[in-house]
């Protein structure tokens, strides 16, 4: 019974569908052409009665493949939730009647659109099966946290509080990280007007006292293998012993390294002990306790101090950090108040070019500093010199536009954070030809003396036993790659979450917030792995890729191009899929030159059959057909919204949502051209450093692959402008339809395809 496929179609006539379109004609198409064994109409299919009608057929009639012709697949997902069967949706509402004007003159083409969507949904349905979880792993609630600083400890406490036991692996001999060296912290509670106790001792204590948290000091991760739900991690201790434990998910909280101020000789660092970094000042403040802060050279009480902001930061000079570390302005205000609170007469000057005080306390704390008469001078410091009894700070006053100088007892350099990452698996090797070119360019630039790359640790943090490298991929400057806009804690290794300053520079409060988010993500990863479900953005998806071994040529394109390092290789070079590492984007499917990779409910056929079942009118009917392959994350919702806003879409368009543009198989392009489509529009997400691709590299891969589609067109003797690839954002509600309509204009110009049979 389970093997017997029983197809049923359901056509909704609500929301104006029944008024604008001919339901009986569509029913005929579904049953005659689409080979549906039954077809029912309902005036409001998403209503309780409509849903019950479908459920009854599933329960009593043995229906296991259903085609629903109603609204967009993005609408009414709760009503049309039938997890036990295979389902396709024909988008008649957002996709047809809402993007087409009413009126007799449009009726024929509008109906043709609807008819095609019925054909396509029926064809797709014949090539999918309901996905089943692989059962590769059970629920493993054990979470590994790498790093015992504020981020790591906070994440551990969050996870433990949720009932997920944690092991913290800390490289050093104690918990606390850099925060343990601080005298006080920037205020995190209203009224945000004075430095507060760090609370690190209490944090450490609550970690140590928590029976669900195991702390391993002087330890490191020697090897990580497996996948979410079944990570096998070998933990090595300094003494040489090691143990292997299994974990459901991993949080990397490896933090930052303070910038090496020895690269700032112009500020006399290293020449006099009275020039210190912000972290070194914390030590002086701690030593002073509540007494006056003494300067290192002679122990004299500091009566005047200058803070130099952006020291070795936000600069493209060699050895400097190109970015803003974000925490240093509020830190300098805090440190200035160390002096002011002890002695209001102490002259404290903060020399800044742009004062940036992010976060809730920022502006209030800045004001508090001003109220206590910390002097904020907009000036660019050129040099610090030591002489006699004091230091001289030369700077250009940027408001008064003059070169000037001040003297003081102590200079504090507001230096930044350098991420403590492992080696970037893709550094220097490149994932695609495009990346290889980019790498070559970067090397050339470095050789020419421009923006030297920031030096990062090359020691591995995770020692991943992955085909794609030992550590988390990075975006730039050594920070781990994450989808900054939508999914900040995600990395490109599923089930491993980067939090804290290894992800981006941040302060204690931000790190704690990050930790809570990362812990939640890790828990979700462990639970989803146990269920065989994907995590974001196809959260809950049970399908995962498999391949037909007899067709595989062991070319390794899938293993190399998987943005998430989900695929290993066996000894013979065949891919080994790790279901729970997979995000289900289908980039491997798009990469496979021999089309052997497929998902239960998404494959070369499930899409290929849709486009082959579009009715292509005779050349002399002058009704072109345009295939639109739209990313389901941004482009397809943008088109849905266009429908909601009443933006028109050309009636020649036939839109097929794809999981990611990276999943697009070149065969779909050649097949559609061969079957007589006149134009093809591909819509993916933004793909550069500020990418919006939900699968990080999918869109970039697709653009790279499609750059070669010109050869295909040429071999078919077709005009290259018949295929267009675009980056589309979810907000492109006007633009996305326009791109389709532009293609209709192009087709009108270059003429109909000669391949209509």
């Amino acid at each position: 019974m389970a093997d017997e496929k029983k197809y049923a179609a359901y056509i909704c006539t609500g929301c104006g569908i029944g008024d604008r379109l001919d339901p009986s004609q569509m029913e005929t198409i579904a049953t005659r052409e689409g080979k549906m064994q039954s077809c029912k109409q309902h005036e409001m299919l998403c209503s309780k009665e409509g849903v019950k009608m479908i459920q009854d057929d599933i329960d009593n009639e043995g229906v296991n493949h259903i085609m629903i012709a109603a609204c967009s697949r993005r609408a009414k997902v709760e009503a049309f939730h039938f997890p036990t069967v295979a389902m396709t949706r024909a988008n008649l509402r957002e996709g047809v009647i809402w993007v087409r004007p009413e009126g007799d003159e449009h009726q024929e083409t509008t109906q043709e659109m609807a008819d095609d969507y019925i054909r396509m949904a029926c064809a797709e349905l014949r090539f999918i099966t309901p996905p089943q979880p692989s059962g590769q792993q059970d629920l493993n609630k054990h979470i590994l946290v790498v790093g015992g600083g504020v981020s790591g400890m906070s994440a551990a406490l969050e996870a433990a509080a949720a009932g997920y036991p944690v092991t913290i692996v800390e490289k050093s001999g104690q918990l606390g990280g850099h925060a343990a060296q601080l005298h006080k912290r920037v205020p995190y509670r209203a009224p945000y007007d004075a430095p507060m106790e760090t609370g690190i001792d209490a944090l450490i204590k609550s970690v140590e006292e928590n029976s669900d948290i195991e702390v391993l000091l002087n330890s490191s991760v020697a090897k990580t293998s497996g996948a979410p739900g079944r990570f096998e991690v070998e933990i090595a201790t300094e003494s040489g012993s090691s143990k292997t434990e299994s974990f459901g998910a991993i949080i990397q909280a490896s933090g930052f390294k303070p910038y090496d101020a020895n690269q700032l000789p112009e500020f006399a660092y290293g020449k006099t002990p009275d020039v210190v970094t912000n972290l070194e000042l914390e030590k002086l403040a701690k030593e002073a306790g509540d007494g006056p802060i003494k300067r290192p050279s002679d122990g004299k009480e500091v009566k005047s101090v200058a803070f130099i902001q952006c020291a070795g930061q936000r600069s493209d000079k060699e050895g400097h950090l190109p970015y803003c570390s974000g925490f240093c302005c509020t830190t300098s205000i805090k440190q200035a108040l160390y002096f002011k609170d002890q002695n209001p007469g102490c002259d404290t000057t903060v020399l800044f070019t742009d004062l940036r005080t992010p976060g809730a306390p920022g502006e209030d704390f800045y004001r508090a500093g001003q109220k206590k008469e910390v002097t904020f001078t907009k000036g660019a410091v050129s040099e610090v010199t030591a002489g006699g009894d004091s230091l001289t700070v030369k700077f250009k006053d940027l408001i008064l536009d003059e070169d000037t100088e001040m003297t003081c007892d102590l200079v504090v350099l507001a230096t930044g954070q350098v991420p403590n990452s492992g080696p970037d698996p893709y550094a220097g090797m490149g994932e695609t030809e495009e990346d290889l070119e980019a790498t070559a360019e970067a090397e050339a630039a470095a050789a020419a003396g421009e923006a030297a790359p920031v030096e990062v640790s090359v020691e591995s943090i995770l020692n991943l036993d992955y085909r794609q490298g030992t550590d988390l991929p990075q975006l730039k400057w050594g920070f781990t790659d994450s989808h900054f806009i939508c999914f900040p804690y995600e990395t490109r290794r599923t089930g491993i979450y980067a939090i804290g300053p290894v992800r981006r520079p941040m302060d204690i409060q931000q790190a704690r917030d990050d930790a809570a988010g990362g812990a939640m993500k890790a828990i979700q990863a462990a639970v989803h792995a146990a269920e065989g479900q994907a995590v974001h953005p196809r959260s809950g998806d049970l399908s995962f890729p498999t391949f037909r071994k007899e067709g595989c040529t062991q070319c390794k394109r899938c293993t190399v191009e998987c943005p998430f390092g989900a695929i290993n290789e066996d000894e013979e070079g065949y891919p080994v899929y790790n279901e729970s590492r997979c995000r289900r984007c289908g980039t491997c499917m798009g990469a496979c030159p021999v089309r052997v990779i497929s998902f239960e409910n998404y494959s070369v056929d499930s899409v290929g059959q849709q486009l082959k079942n579009v009715d292509i009118p005779d050349e002399f009917d002058e009704k072109p057909r345009i295939l639109v392959l739209a990313c389901e994350n941004d482009a397809y919702p943008a088109l849905d919204q266009a429908g909601m806003s009443g933006v028109e879409i050309n009636p020649w368009a036939r839109v097929i949502p794809v999981r990611c543009l990276g999943s697009v198989s070149l065969s779909w392009i050649t097949d559609s051209l061969n079957s007589g489509f006149d134009g093809i529009v591909l819509m993916g997400c933004r793909k550069d450093d500020d990418y919006q691709c939900h699968f990080v590299k999918g869109s970039a891969m697709a653009h790279e692959r499609m750059s070669k589609v010109g050869d295909t067109l040429e071999s078919l003797n077709l005009e290259p402008e018949r295929v267009a690839v675009y980056e589309v954002a979810i907000t492109d509600i006007e633009r996305a339809p326009k791109l389709i309509n532009d293609m209709a204009d192009t087709v009108e110009k270059v003429g109909m395809s000669p391949f209509k049979f």
Partner: protein, 208 residues
């Protein structure tokens, strides 16, 4: 230089900012400026200022006492309140400018022959006579503020305006003799004298 000026230099040797905070109207706000420059960009006469407000605030913090107090800048304020309306930090900039101008004048540091400084003093003197402003006398004294010859020239130049105002009864020669005034002028004078005494005492100087 006035004695008061010398006394103030002595008292606030180290911090002009403190001097401004203690003695200038709304001066305690100066340290709260965040140097965004919206005030300077919003000032209708911004181009005419030797140092726009943003710079004045910076100069106060940098201790440039003489440069600030002897500047012509604050006297360019038209009191349009654009800076106040737009300052993201809510600083009462117009008042601070008036306050600095007044303080400079009090210390005898305001630039000599600054037309607005002169006019503003004339205005005050005029209103102090009768408790209400006598526009005719104010106008005449304005014409002659730079001496008799200049005054005749200015008066000639302004003749048409004067005629227009006379014709429409918006100026009256009768105002030259007596004119409007407050009945309880002695009470008003006593009140102002007291107010001045209190203010002088606050600034650390006994009444003259």
């Amino acid at each position: 230089m006035s004695d008061l000026n010398t006394a103030m230099i002595e008292k606030y040797r180290n911090s002009f900012l403190h001097e401004v905070e203690a003695n200038v109207e709304e001066g305690e706000w100066v340290k709260m400026c965040m140097q965004c420059g919206v005030c300077s960009g919003s000032c209708p006469l911004g181009n005419a200022w030797e140092h726009p407000p943003q710079e004045i605030f910076m100069m106060i913090r940098a201790g440039k006492r003489d440069d600030v107090l002897s500047s012509d800048a604050m006297w360019m304020c038209t009191s349009c309140y654009n800076c106040i309306a737009r300052c993201p930090r809510g600083l009462p900039i117009t008042h601070i400018m008036h306050g600095l101008a007044h303080y400079a004048k009090r210390l005898g540091l305001a630039p000599k022959n600054q037309p607005t400084a002169k006019f503003a003093q004339l205005f005050w003197d005029n209103l102090m006579k009768k408790g209400r402003v006598n526009e005719l006398k104010l106008g005449l004294s304005l014409y002659f503020m730079n001496g008799f010859g200049e005054g005749i020239k200015t008066a000639l130049k302004m003749k048409n305006i004067g005629l227009g105002m006379l014709k429409t009864k918006r100026m009256s020669p009768a105002e030259a003799f007596g004119g409007h005034g407050v009945k309880d002028i002695s009470g008003l004078h006593k009140m102002i004298k007291k107010a001045q005494e209190l203010e002088d005492a606050r600034i650390g100087q006994s009444a003259k």
